[in-house]
Symmetry: C2
Subunit: 244 residues, 2 copies
């Protein structure tokens, strides 16, 4: 039990609603089937059907879609405490692939277990739906970013969002965070070329806003970064550690 109380998902959900013993126990039950996956090999393939969902407990994953023309678009990154493939459990579509960016630990969640937990603990259900809805809002924000922000603002926004998400599970803060992504990941997520990502990163670094180096993001000037990104964290719906 002690373990679960400090699990990333528990931390995240607790930021939304205080969980009782009963709910923590239900959450614990969801964490039973531990799984490991190695970096680089897809967990779920585009078009595959009827597989489980996962709760990510350690490591980073990206969900992406491949185009017929060979390019790929990363839809979102999952960090510890995030659900993975939640949609494809309730329904039948797995419209994108999941690739572990580093070696990861995850708990497999079966449809029945999830529905049981929902039926028994409505508050937990609400909390999980809150998390799912937050994920959806992030995709929307991502869409807005690609459609209507230029490359620097997009990058700045991305860094701030990541920082905010990570701080919710105690893995980062206003000063920065660990980040195992390559510049190719950033390119595929932001709809840019890897070359341009590199230039934007240099630009942000040289103007003293943020440094991305050796798998570590260091935020030098949080305020100016927020300014450049026009970052309004409202969509994350978290009063969040960052703001206190």
């Amino acid at each position: 039990m002690k373990i679960i109380e400090n699990s990333p998902l528990t931390r995240k959900l607790s930021a939304f609603v205080a969980l009782s013993e009963v709910e923590l126990a239900a959450l614990e039950r969801l964490h039973q089937r531990r799984r490991s996956f190695v970096a680089g090999r897809d967990m779920v393939h585009q078009g595959q059907s009827a597989q489980a969902a996962y709760i990510l407990s350690a490591g980073w994953v990206c969900s992406y879609k491949l185009q017929p023309n060979g390019t790929r678009q990363i839809v979102d990154f999952q960090v510890p405490g995030d659900f993975l493939g939640l949609r494809s459990v309730l329904l039948r579509t797995s419209d994108h692939s999941f690739e572990p960016i580093v070696d990861i630990e995850a708990a497999e969640v079966l449809t029945v277990d999830l529905l049981d937990a929902f039926a028994q603990t409505p508050r937990l259900a609400t909390a999980i739906l809150w998390a799912a809805s937050r994920d959806e809002a992030m995709v929307v924000e991502h869409l807005v970013g690609i459609g209507r922000r230029d490359a620097d603002a997009r990058m700045a926004h991305f860094m701030l969002e990541l920082g905010s998400r990570l701080s919710l599970v105690g893995m980062g803060g206003k000063e920065g965070f660990e980040c195992p992504l390559t510049q190719y990941h950033l390119a595929d997520a932001l709809g840019l070329s890897a070359v341009h990502v590199n230039r934007i990163l240099r630009q942000l670094r040289e103007s003293g806003l943020v440094t991305f180096r050796d798998s570590h993001v260091t935020i030098h000037d949080h305020d100016r970064l927020v300014d450049l990104a026009e970052f309004d964290p409202a969509y994350l719906d978290q009063i969040g550690p960052l703001l206190k």
Copy 2:
């Protein structure tokens, strides 16, 4: 009852699963509070909280997000049979605005009614969740399009998706459909300038693929359009009238 059996939402859900009398009755009950809204005036404002969801029965709506810099990004269009603001009912966030594009008719759905319907008719719940998940998949596909498709492919894809969605509720087919959008709407949805939308439309028209004129889309060469768009309707999860 007869009315509801032919409502757009019923048609749409029936494409996913056959609905029994009981479920049709539950669906009927959701349609009780009829509302009308005039074109152009926002139904829901960004940042507003705790309002109802709607089932759109006639007319078109767009959901969009405004940027601090004045630009806007249209996230999705709603056509008859679509839900509107479903997320903000279950939770607390209304992260974007809804604007009727023409005068519309919609049924207001209260949270309690929805939860009641869910509890009483699990099959209906599944069907509605299917629809919600399809909407989410469309947003993802939209994201991919803006990030990784060029302007013509994006436009072609958009036309095909709309056609496909409309055909599901009997409002269009392989040959075309009515479409009350302006070129500005297209621009804001596709992440382009209105000027460029105009040029792309001309280009598509002149190469004999599709014509968008006088609020009507005419598809001249469906196959070549699919080809240009690299359109794979799998994400819509509908075996769909178009394919039969």
